[in-house]
Symmetry: C2
Subunit: 403 residues, 2 copies
């Protein structure tokens, strides 16, 4: 197993392995794996490969001798030409992460996180989440035969709990200040030999690189101009950007896309700071949005996302709930039913278009993070027609509604 260094995203301090709280001991900012310096995509048919087999060179420190993959990744990139025309751009693409094994992008980071835990000899893993990540870690923990701890906030709806509980993890509702649970879980993990794969720990972030790798392959190694990512803790956009950066530095693509972090206006700490030209986020006091999956008032990777956007030339955006819901409906009218958080990406395209930031030659990729079936309560926000008629009147009825 190759040794890779972990480097602080802020001060550059380097470490041989994960620190106690997965952050820099000196400045408290997130640490990440150093950039991969050499590598290529493995030969072979992706139909017979796992992600980590195909992109093996980009994970030099992960040993895949334990095969517990659920065949995450290799998701669709759906091209929508009519809508691209509508926005006056060259191409509009949706990276459909709802086609992952637990129907969200989280699986890409979970598989690398769990693998790292196993490589380090851990028998127990955990996470703090109320949604997609909880399901993902529960599923992979089950698959890998690990003792799995899922910590959620006391009081979440039962309809959200059961699809997590079915995988058989130890599911614990925690009463108290939820915002302290992220750090607290890492400390408890350290004491109890549980490797917590929280939202922006280094080996989770590292897994999201594969999304960039696939997008490059799917676009024939022409990098897009913009990649729009619904952003909560900040781990996913960091990983995706790192993936493009590694491909770029190795000459596999000839430019870097601009990264766009989109948040819901009702909870947009990263956008708030970005708009004011700051490099440090402030906690959002009363978060409120329909996009619960990205409702994080104080994202642990918030500052690093701001630093990354500055270097990358990218931007942050906030979109209103009403536009999120409109985009959710519009995506469904393309055959793509996603959770509200995912619909922020299309709302962001609309915003970029209205603000005349898009050029005719631009290719834009939107990441659709999770399935609409994850949060069906959002359907109540839409006016949806359902007709009723008697069988013997069906022929006439169809003629009527058809006109």
């Amino acid at each position: 197993m190759n040794k890779e260094k972990l480097v602080c995203t802020n001060c550059g301090e380097s470490y041989d392995k994960e620190t106690k709280n997965f952050r820099c001991d000196k400045c408290g900012e997130p640490i990440e794996l150093e950039e991969v310096k050499e590598g290529k995509i493995s030969d072979g048919n992706p139909l017979g490969q796992t992600l980590l087999e195909r992109y093996k060179d980009f994970y030099p420190s992960l040993s895949t001798e334990n095969n517990f993959s659920l065949n995450e990744g290799f998701t669709s990139l759906v091209s929508v030409d009519d809508m691209a025309k509508e926005y006056g751009i060259s191409g509009l693409f949706f990276k459909n992460e709802t086609q992952n094994p637990t129907w969200s992008f989280k699986d890409r980071g979970t598989v690398t996180g769990v693998l790292r835990a196993m490589n380090l000899g851990y028998k127990k893993i955990g996470t703090v989440s109320t949604g997609n990540m909880a399901t993902s870690v529960a599923a992979y923990g089950a698959r890998a035969g690990l003792d799995t701890y899922i910590l959620v906030k006391k009081g979440i709806a039962e309809e959200k709990l059961k699809p997590i509980a079915i995988y058989g993890a130890k599911l614990i509702e925690v009463e108290g200040d939820y915002s302290k649970l992220y750090d607290e879980s890492l400390a408890i993990g350290h004491e109890n030999d549980i490797y917590f794969i929280n939202s922006d720990v280094p080996y989770r972030v590292e897994g999201y690189k594969t999304m960039a790798f696939e997008i490059c392959e799917q676009l024939g190694f022409e990098a897009p101009d913009y990649v729009i990512v619904p952003t909560s803790a900040g781990g996913d956009i960091r990983g995706i950007e790192k993936g493009f950066r590694e491909f770029y530095k190795l000459g596999l693509i000839d430019k870097l896309p601009k990264m766009v972090a989109v948040q819901a206006s009702g909870c947009s700490p990263i956008y708030n700071a970005f708009r004011e030209g700051k490099l440090e986020i402030s906690r959002v006091a009363d978060p409120e949005t329909i996009a619960h999956a990205i409702e994080n008032p104080y994202p642990p990777s918030g500052n690093q996302v701001l630093r990354m956007l500055k270097k990358n030339g990218g931007l942050a955006l906030g979109v209103d709930d009403v536009d999120i819901l409109k985009s959710q409906k519009k995506l469904a009218s393309l055959g793509l039913f996603v959770q509200p958080a995912s619909a922020t990406s299309l709302a962001a395209v609309e915003k970029l278009y209205k603000e005349k930031l898009l050029k005719e030659s631009d290719n834009v990729v939107c990441v659709l993070t999770g399935s609409g079936l994850k949060y069906t309560a959002a359907l109540d926000e839409h006016d949806l027609d359902v007709y009723t008629c008697k069988l013997e009147e069906l022929n006439d009825f169809i003629k009527k509604v058809g006109n």
Copy 2:
């Protein structure tokens, strides 16, 4: 566009195009496309292809100039070695169809059905279904910009309706004898220029071949010994078997797998007839099972499945609800959360094992037809543990539940 004949699966009568009710005018049994006589898998990286690009030669009469694919298919084949050992077989694999764009296998048949409708010049499509197929046709109809009619039984739960309605199809609840709706819809379709892509129409069945093609690729062109398919109308198992047959006749694989049609004991018209050595199904009077997605009391392709199984050397099985639920939990403990209908496939493995029908050298593939998120009410049938504790007691609590 190449002309392919449609042939009666029973009497062999051939047709130049679809009959009025998609069945043989002489004997009333299902018609299907004649076997493809030559072809190979297209070159190229599946990451940059659609299913119909990769397997183009196997769809000579479908023109793909309209690209409305949602990038269905190319789903995982998950290998579970520990469980294979448990059953004393060489390999056990799960074809995870929940990774399709609408989270069920139906998308494979919908894309070919919709393409056929468009090739014939139809502007309207429809289907009769209360579940996976309704969602799938609604999604693809939206994507293709077609006027889409979804007919469902009056009185189905609202939680099932809304995820169909969001795609914007004309969703009609029909009051009256639901069992007549299959035929009635085809007649109404004929009169109103609506191409109904019901459960076993020829171009839907044809789409399911791709599942077999992928399984062959994923297993390195070694055909498995058994392929177990949860069976309702009978369209899917027919299509999958035809796919293996075409690959076999073209020399791409060197044997045919035995097909296993599994049904829920509470509604098993195909299994009932098979057990009695009959080649004709009888209607099940009072269907009742938790596996609603395969609860069809009089499957339109029932007789053809019986004929196919006889020729193929395959078999039909019935499994009880209690075993279906056990299998649902067991699959979740592997990281695979599926709807109850899909869990029948693992219950069937268990049954084959208990009846000593499996050999040490056997490789078995189970088709997991649809996501567990499709029918979360089934979760109430499981005893699922959820713990509660205070944040300040979390450390002690974790030590306690850890032991």
